[in-house]
C-alpha cells in the first residue's frame, strides 16, 4: 500500500529527495502529501504558489485524490526548449 513520490529540479535539491514512497493509507489527496514534505522542508513550503503537480504522469491539482499504486510528482515551472 504505497504511493511513489517524485521531486524534480530545484525541488529535488530543496528536499534532498528524488524519489520516495509514502503509506497510501495515510494520504487521501496530493495536498496532504505535499503538506507532509513541506512541514519537513520549509523551503518547499515557500515554493507552494508556483509548484506544479502530476499524478501518474498527467498534470493534476493539489486537490486530486490519490490511491495505492499512484505516482505523484512535484516540480517547478518547466524550462525546457
Amino acid at each position: 500500500m504505497s504511493i511513489r513520490v517524485l521531486f524534480f529540479a530545484s525541488l529535488a535539491d530543496i528536499t534532498g529527495i528524488r524519489e520516495t514512497t509514502v503509506d497510501a493509507a495515510m494520504f487521501s489527496d496530493i495536498r496532504s502529501i505535499f503538506s507532509k514534505f513541506a512541514a519537513e522542508h520549509p523551503d518547499l513550503e515557500a515554493r507552494r504558489p508556483t509548484i506544479m503537480v502530476a499524478l501518474n504522469s498527467e498534470f493534476a491539482r493539489l486537490e486530486s485524490k490519490v490511491q495505492d499504486g499512484d505516482e505523484v510528482a512535484f516540480f517547478p515551472p518547466v524550462s525546457g526548449g
Binding site: 517524485l6 524534480f8 529540479a9 530545484s10 535539491d13 504558489p49 508556483t50 506544479m52 502530476a54 504522469s57 498527467e58 498534470f59 510528482a73 516540480f75 517547478p76 515551472p77 518547466v78 524550462s79 525546457g80 526548449g81
Partner: protein
C-alpha cells in the same frame, strides 16, 4: 532515455529524449515524403550568456516518462490544428556545451505556412508544458532556470 533503437515504433522514434547529440538530418530524412512541399526545422541551441552572466554549460533533466508523453501529445495536437503531414521532436538531456542543439522540431507539409505555424506552436508548447528543466552553470555558481507559472 533512449535513441536509435530499431525496436521502437515509428511514432516513438519521432518523439525522443536523448543523451547524445541530436541527429537532425536523420529525423528529417525519416519524416520527409514526396507529397511534401516544405520542411520547417527549428533548433533551440545553448546560448553563452543569461541575464548578463557568462554561461559555461547547461544541464537538462526531465521527468522522462511524462515528458515523452507530452511530446507525443504536442505532436498529435499539431497535426490536428495545422495542415501538416508529419512532425518530429527530439529533446536532448544531460550536459550541453555552448552552441549545442537542445531541442529540434521538424515539420513537413504540402505548403510552408502550416509548417512554420506548427513549428512555432510546438516550441511554445514545449516551453510551457513538458517537464524538462535546465540548470545554467556559470563560472561562480549555478541556478535552476524556472519558467512562468
Amino acid at each position: 532515455m533512449r535513441s536509435r533503437s530499431s525496436l521502437l515504433s515509428a511514432e516513438a522514434r519521432m518523439f525522443l529524449l536523448v543523451s547524445e547529440p541530436i541527429e537532425i538530418t536523420t529525423l528529417r530524412n525519416s519524416l520527409v515524403h514526396p507529397e511534401d512541399g516544405a520542411i520547417a526545422i527549428f533548433e533551440g541551441i545553448v546560448r553563452n550568456q543569461s541575464h548578463g552572466k557568462r554561461v559555461r554549460y547547461l544541464e537538462y533533466s526531465a521527468y522522462e516518462l511524462m515528458a515523452q508523453r507530452k511530446l507525443e501529445e504536442i505532436g498529435k495536437q499539431a497535426r490536428e490544428r495545422f495542415a501538416i503531414r508529419q512532425i518530429g521532436i527530439i529533446h536532448r538531456l544531460g550536459h550541453l556545451q555552448i552552441g549545442e542543439c537542445s531541442v529540434a522540431i521538424v515539420v513537413t507539409s504540402a505548403h510552408r505556412a502550416a509548417a512554420f505555424e506548427a513549428c512555432q506552436f510546438a516550441i511554445d508548447a514545449i516551453k510551457q508544458a513538458v517537464p524538462i528543466w535546465k540548470k545554467e552553470v556559470y563560472e561562480d555558481g549555478e541556478i535552476w532556470v524556472e519558467g512562468e507559472r
